[in-house]
């Protein structure tokens, strides 16, 4: 799961101290241990304030799961506990994210060995060749946001229905149904689409009503369809969560003040659900930037994402340095896009908290 730098959470979320020592990364810096857990920008404890009481000059705090943290006997002990809690995740990220990234960075400045692979060197040649993958970059930069927006268009009404309109008695079941597809591998579900879109699927039905030889599979449209299908739950859930928290009294107030339903939606509901929308769009876009499977299966190896170009460079051309250069560039591009998008998102959504489900 990509890490999304989040802004400092609003003060009300974390007790009365008024300033959450939040780091943009979800890991608390070890040694800053007087706030175990508070550094995580995940969901706040439903926003309520907990009155602290004096206790050796310290306050009780509420961590992100709503547990009350008791002030520890000594800071050293707390630091140790914090370190122990953070260590597994930190080690994981170090071994599987930071070190590989450093290796990739080193490779990116190397050369392809004569038989393929990596050969030590220091050259910018790989970066100079990036334009040869411009088409794949372009494809990715267009299809990823378009896919995310299509996802949003489909997901919003569903999330709205689930959160606002659905009978509360069935809500849990309906929400579960959204998640049920995740029980099956995306690979299997995407294969199913290959049959639905293939000649014996929809085109076969179309031929019965006179449309012969319609081709749906291995087109950009098929890839988009696969993307929307595959990532829909990831879009529905954050929007659902932000709509569920919506205070109905605001809608009643809006109606009482004479707003028509449409104005209420655009003036109250939509703005209040923007954090969820932004989270969903960011989540889906980021995942799509690295997408490989869906274009491979539903695009026939022709509709190329940068992820496919990467696989090709490592598994066919065996040009590890060029592959590394592309991967490093992709990471840089994603980080930049994300920073810009988040900045815009927070300007739009004010200082509201963005949740990651």
């Amino acid at each position: 799961m990509p890490l999304i730098p989040l802004p400092r959470p609003s003060p009300r979320s974390y007790g009365e101290k008024g300033q959450a020592a939040s780091s943009p990364l979800p890991i608390a810096p070890v040694g800053q241990g007087n706030r175990t857990g508070a550094a995580s920008p995940l969901r706040p404890a439903s926003g309520e304030k907990v009155a602290g009481r004096p206790d050796e000059g310290r306050k009780f705090e509420i961590d992100f799961n709503g547990f009350i943290l008791m002030p520890a006997a000594t800071n050293t002990k707390r630091n140790l506990v914090t370190a122990a809690l953070v260590a597994p995740a930190a080690a994981w990220l170090m071994i599987f994210l930071v070190l590989p990234f450093i290796a990739m960075l080193v490779f990116a400045f190397g050369e392809r060995a004569p038989e393929g692979g990596y050969q030590a060197a220091f050259t910018f040649a790989q970066f100079a060749r990036l334009p040869t993958r411009a088409a794949a970059f372009w494809n990715t930069m267009v299809l990823a946001p378009v896919g995310a927006l299509l996802c949003l268009l489909v997901a919003y009404p569903v999330a709205y229905y689930l959160a606002v309109k659905a009978d509360p008695r069935y809500r849990l079941i309906l929400v579960s149904l959204v998640v049920v597809p995740f029980w099956t591998s995306l690979l299997v579900r995407t294969y199913a689409w290959m049959y639905i879109l293939g000649s014996r699927g929809i085109p076969n039905l179309l031929s019965m009503i006179g449309f012969e030889d319609v081709r749906l599979l291995n087109t950009p449209g098929a890839v988009l369809l696969g993307i929307v299908y595959g990532y829909l739950p990831l879009m529905i859930m954050p929007i659902y969560v932000s709509l569920e928290k919506l205070d109905r009294r605001l809608l009643e107030a809006s109606a009482d003040l004479g707003a028509r339903p449409v104005s209420t939606f655009f003036g109250v509901t939509l703005p209040l659900s923007l954090p969820g929308v932004m989270t969903g769009v960011a989540l889906v876009t980021i995942l799509l930037l690295g997408e490989y499977l869906i274009p491979q299966l539903l695009g026939g190896g022709k509709v190329f994402f940068i992820g496919n170009a990467l696989v090709d460079l490592f598994l066919q051309s065996r040009n590890w340095p060029f592959g590394s250069a592309i991967a490093v560039t992709l990471v840089a591009v994603v980080v930049v896009i994300l920073m810009v998008a988040m900045r815009i998102a927070f300007r739009v959504a004010g200082t509201r908290q963005v949740d990651l489900v």
Binding site: R112, P114, E115, G116, G117, T132, R133, A135, A136, G198, S199, R200, R215, L217, N218, G300, G301, K302, F304, N308, A309, D312, L313, F314, L315, Q316, S317, R318, N319
Partner: protein, 386 residues
């Protein structure tokens, strides 16, 4: 509370099913599974009964699992089942679409393959890179070099040492669905023209530099194996021009041809024979302007974890009575005269499998240089990402 009749059983049916699913998902180890279900103990006890689950003739340190890397639709699944029944070793089959992909995996390491199927032109590179072992022919009593056709087997021998033994030979031709395509296609030049016209959106090329670039070169009148930059540039121009008209770039084209999603494809002999056998309207033709003739080999990676099982399977496959079943199912022509004698007349008389010698004349064996040539590798990658 009454005592349920299965209370003393080591594991309930539900628990067993749960554990089995966990094992299949890979979230528990085989060792854990056997331990927790009691099957390990049961197997250990049963295994002591000679002749019940094991055959003394095959006793050895082969374990129960091995892995082979091969090509799509390249084997008769019954072969591996029979091998497992005979030896107790289950064979995991990994399928690849190009020799480059196999090489990439072996170079990166950790493949877990105990046997794999490289094509003739790659073997010298594998030897040079130290990725395969010289075969210990004493462990392959079923292999007989004297009954092999030298033309198809010589590339398995490097510096007088046998590194690979032949599986079968074949060609790379054109498969087309004659109910959909009426224009006669007899050459690679025709192939690319029809791909842009009558078969617009319905033609497939391999996800494989050797054949896709090679056949594009042939259609332009150049050598299948050319690495000359100016000729490759022409081939790239052609491929980029064709790309928007293609159905897919994929070496596993049988599903698409069978579903009639695709109407024409670059096709290996064995796939051509299989497709034509099940769907007579799919024809297989060789390019009269050239193309590839090849032979596939079996080799054992240096990194193989279970070489004993690799040798056992290889020796099993080299036995003519087993090989003949493979050849009938797979549809590729044999290099072994012992197998040839056992093949039924409808196979040996099949012009797709055993074409006239004259039609083979323009074909070329792949050259080792194409495997590692950066120009061809990059061209293929550019073509795909264009």
């Amino acid at each position: 509370m009454t005592k349920w009749y299965r209370e003393n059983a080591p594991i309930t049916a539900e628990q067993l099913a749960d554990e089995l699913m966990r094992l299949k998902r890979g979230s528990v180890t085989r060792r854990h599974f056997l331990g927790v279900t009691g099957l390990g103990l049961a197997t250990a006890v049963l295994a002591r009964q000679p002749g019940l689950f094991n055959s003394p003739a095959f006793a050895g340190d082969r374990g129960t699992q091995m892995s082979i890397a091969t090509w799509p639709n390249n084997h008769d699944p019954a072969t591996f089942e029979a091998f497992q029944a005979a030896t107790g070793v289950a064979v995991e089959v990994n399928v690849f679409g190009s020799n480059e992909e196999m090489l990439a995996k072996l170079q990166a390491g950790g493949t877990g393959w105990d046997l794999f199927v490289p094509t003739n032109y790659t073997i010298s590179t594998y030897v040079k890179l130290g990725l395969i072992d010289e075969l210990d022919l004493s462990k392959l009593p079923n292999y007989d070099a004297s009954t092999e056709t030298a033309r198809f087997t010589n590339e398995g021998v490097v510096d007088g040492k046998t590194y690979a033994v032949p599986k079968n030979w074949g060609t790379t031709g054109i498969a087309l669905n004659s109910t959909k395509i009426k224009t006669p296609v007899t050459s690679w030049k025709d192939f690319f023209e029809v791909a842009m016209t009558e078969a617009d959106g319905r033609a497939m090329v391999h996800d494989y530099q050797l054949t896709t670039i090679g056949n594009a070169l042939v259609s332009l009148g150049y050598s299948f194996n050319s690495t000359k930059p100016d000729e490759l540039a022409k081939a790239e121009e052609l491929l980029i021009k064709v790309k928007p008209h293609l159905y897919a770039i994929n070496s596993d084209y049988q599903p698409s041809m069978r579903a009639t999603d695709a109407w024409m494809t670059m096709c290996w002999t064995n796939d051509g024979a299989q497709l034509n056998r099940d769907m007579p309207e799919i024809q297989f033709v060789l390019g009269k302007d050239g193309g590839e003739i090849w032979s596939d080999f079996y080799a054992i990676p240096k990194s193989a974890a279970n070489k004993a099982a690799g040798y056992a399977l290889l020796n099993y496959l080299m036995a003519p009575e087993n090989a003949v079943k493979e050849h009938i199912a797979n549809g590729a022509p044999t290099t072994d005269s012992r197998v040839m004698k056992l093949l039924p007349a409808d196979v040996t008389g099949n012009k797709i499998v055993y074409p006239d010698e004259a039609s083979l004349t323009p074909l070329e064996f792949g050259a080792a240089v194409t495997l590692t040539d950066p120009g061809r590798a990059e061209l293929m990658a550019r073509f795909k990402s264009a």
